[in-house]
Symmetry: C2
Subunit: 351 residues, 2 copies
């Protein structure tokens, strides 16, 4: 107990809300690491958005990942969820399970958390509490943000005719994973990426940037949104599934393969391998996929230019007719059956 408590104070207390900050405004300054829980005042006119993501060593990051990157990623993937819902991050809690007490590891891990907590547009997102336990390395972060009442962006509200957008290049983290764990990919021929490209791909894997700059923009223009954590196809699939359920007719997504934004490394990889799995189903992108109704397209593009936000139109939502799949991959206006077949052959399954 004594040592667990030291651990919390030494490494995590500096990540908490500085005294005097808004989170301390309760009658008794009622917040902070070390109580049974934290007490939070939600700003008037706002709702809370609650997200949770777990990272397991060897499953969500390679075992040799640096503790800084593990810390960064643990928080970043949650901030990414908040961004996709149009929320501004308010605070997070940390459940950290560690095999042994390792001061150096903890110090680096805390630095990674801190860097991610400062990666948004505003102030540091404070850590408000959590739990530290002994066991196989596993990190659960639960983050919370605020949205104006009734304005959270959901997955279930895409409609026929909406255009599909993404916020940046896809598949780089998947290529980074192949670089980091070549032994895991029997079918992966190491490519002659330049050192610069290798560094970029590994950074995409280890330090995904939560797209917090998009929160306000998405609330204004997106009809639905999701962060791409399991690959564009799987995550766009969630939008299609839930929007179809909600509106009572079947929707499909048509993706223009040529329109997908690709890094230089990805362009080379596709040229050499014709393997579309990384860019479409690789996972760990943490870009946002969102839909926009046709009547908002122009004003959306204007706002994107004004706020210097990258947006790439990659397809559209259509009515799904009998015999159609939920997702259609297009090249030159035609379904590309070869690519679709190659993807159906291998999927990503958590279990």
């Amino acid at each position: 107990m004594a040592r667990e408590f030291d651990l919390i104070n030494d490494f995590f207390a500096p990540l908490g809300a500085p005294s005097g900050s808004e989170l301390h405004n309760g009658r008794e300054g009622q917040i902070g690491i070390g109580d049974d829980g934290a007490v939070i005042s939600v700003p008037p006119g706002q709702q809370a958005v609650v997200v949770t993501d777990t990272l397991v060593a060897g499953v969500h990051f390679p075992l040799q990942t640096s503790p800084f990157d593990i810390g960064w990623k643990s928080l970043a993937v949650n901030l990414s969820d908040l961004a996709a819902m149009g929320a501004r991050p308010a605070f997070y809690s940390l459940a950290l399970t560690l095999p042994t007490y390792d001061a150096e590891w903890l110090s680096e891990f805390a630095k990674g958390l801190k860097a991610a907590s400062e990666s948004g547009c505003g102030e540091m997102v404070p850590l408000i509490g959590g739990d530290t336990t002994k066991g196989p390395l596993c990190i659960t972060v639960s983050a919370q943000g605020w949205v104006p009442n009734g304005q959270a962006i959901m997955r279930h509200s895409a409609r026929e005719g909406d255009r599909i957008f993404v916020t940046g290049t896809l598949g780089d983290a998947a290529l980074g994973l192949k670089l980091a764990m070549p032994e895991f990919w029997g079918d992966f021929t190491p490519l002659s990426f330049s050192d610069e490209d290798r560094a970029k791909l590994l950074e995409a894997l280890n330090r995904p940037k939560p797209q917090l700059a998009y929160s306000d923009f998405l609330r204004e223009y997106a009809s639905s949104a999701i962060d791409i954590s399991d690959g564009l196809l799987a995550d766009l699939g969630h939008i299609l599934e839930r929007s179809s359920m909600r509106f009572g007719y079947d929707l499909k997504g048509c993706i223009d393969l040529a329109a997908l934004p690709k890094s230089q490394a990805m362009q080379m990889y596709l040229q050499q391998t014709h393997d579309w799995r990384a860019i479409l189903s690789g996972g760990d992108d943490y870009q946002i996929c969102f839909t926009v109704s046709v009547d908002k397209l122009e004003s959306m593009r204007e706002a994107a230019r004004k706020y210097d936000l990258e947006v790439y139109e990659v397809g559209s939502i259509e009515l799904r007719m009998e015999g159609d799949g939920q997702l259609e991959l297009m090249k030159h206006g035609q379904i590309d059956f070869a690519v679709m077949q190659s993807l159906a052959m291998k999927g990503f399954q958590h279990f």
Copy 2:
């Protein structure tokens, strides 16, 4: 992915907020498992209390613990934190890491969660989201509750002269752990507990009752409170430490060993072994330890009788003089050095 999604739908969706419930009152019915996050409206005039607890297999429960009990305990220990802060539970999220997909295990686990979610005084506490991942068994629940603005009960507000109370018998879970894992306790002579006592001790270990009936009562009468998860001494220690820091003078806790509420099994165990560790430092009690100022004692006792709440006065908070320990264990008004020494010899340390 597909199977993970099935898993969530099959086992956890029924634990969510029923449609039409208060949590669905957002403009778009904005809540539910399956989005990036859940959207929550905090009731006007209330603050949110956020708590997080992780259970690791083999650390926080014996490996052979039934999935029902694991589910129960995962949620119950969090509700216990909320109760100790005077909060009414509102919802929870679940981060579940599982080595393999096991439908039977999941079904029982979900039943345990559900039972715990219905164990309070009001309606079921709904599950609002979370994450399921593959890895060594580990469960993190983050629960949230509401308290009227500024009325959360903290650890840092006990004062000199306050009396110390607990809400029920202590140490039973520790004896239950000895029964469940005799191989772990070299020094444990199996005692001839009756079958009924054995069952009670194991139930104390596996199905701790969150003391939610005390939330409103504690807000009215307690000067400080904490739930006893690491043993009375460790948790009362947190109250003393934080209250001392806050008020700028050193406080100590004086515990009357004779006044500690004891189950029949504990009475027998103490008689035969004179081992006070289980009752004082055993952990997993999930009773609440709270302090009451002298001027509120009478009205507090009256309210406890009225609402049929057990309260046991077990000691007092005093000024700590030079040479005093932070905790003094008393018998017949004298410090019991023998017991204190036996406890100092062995402590409980997470790392």
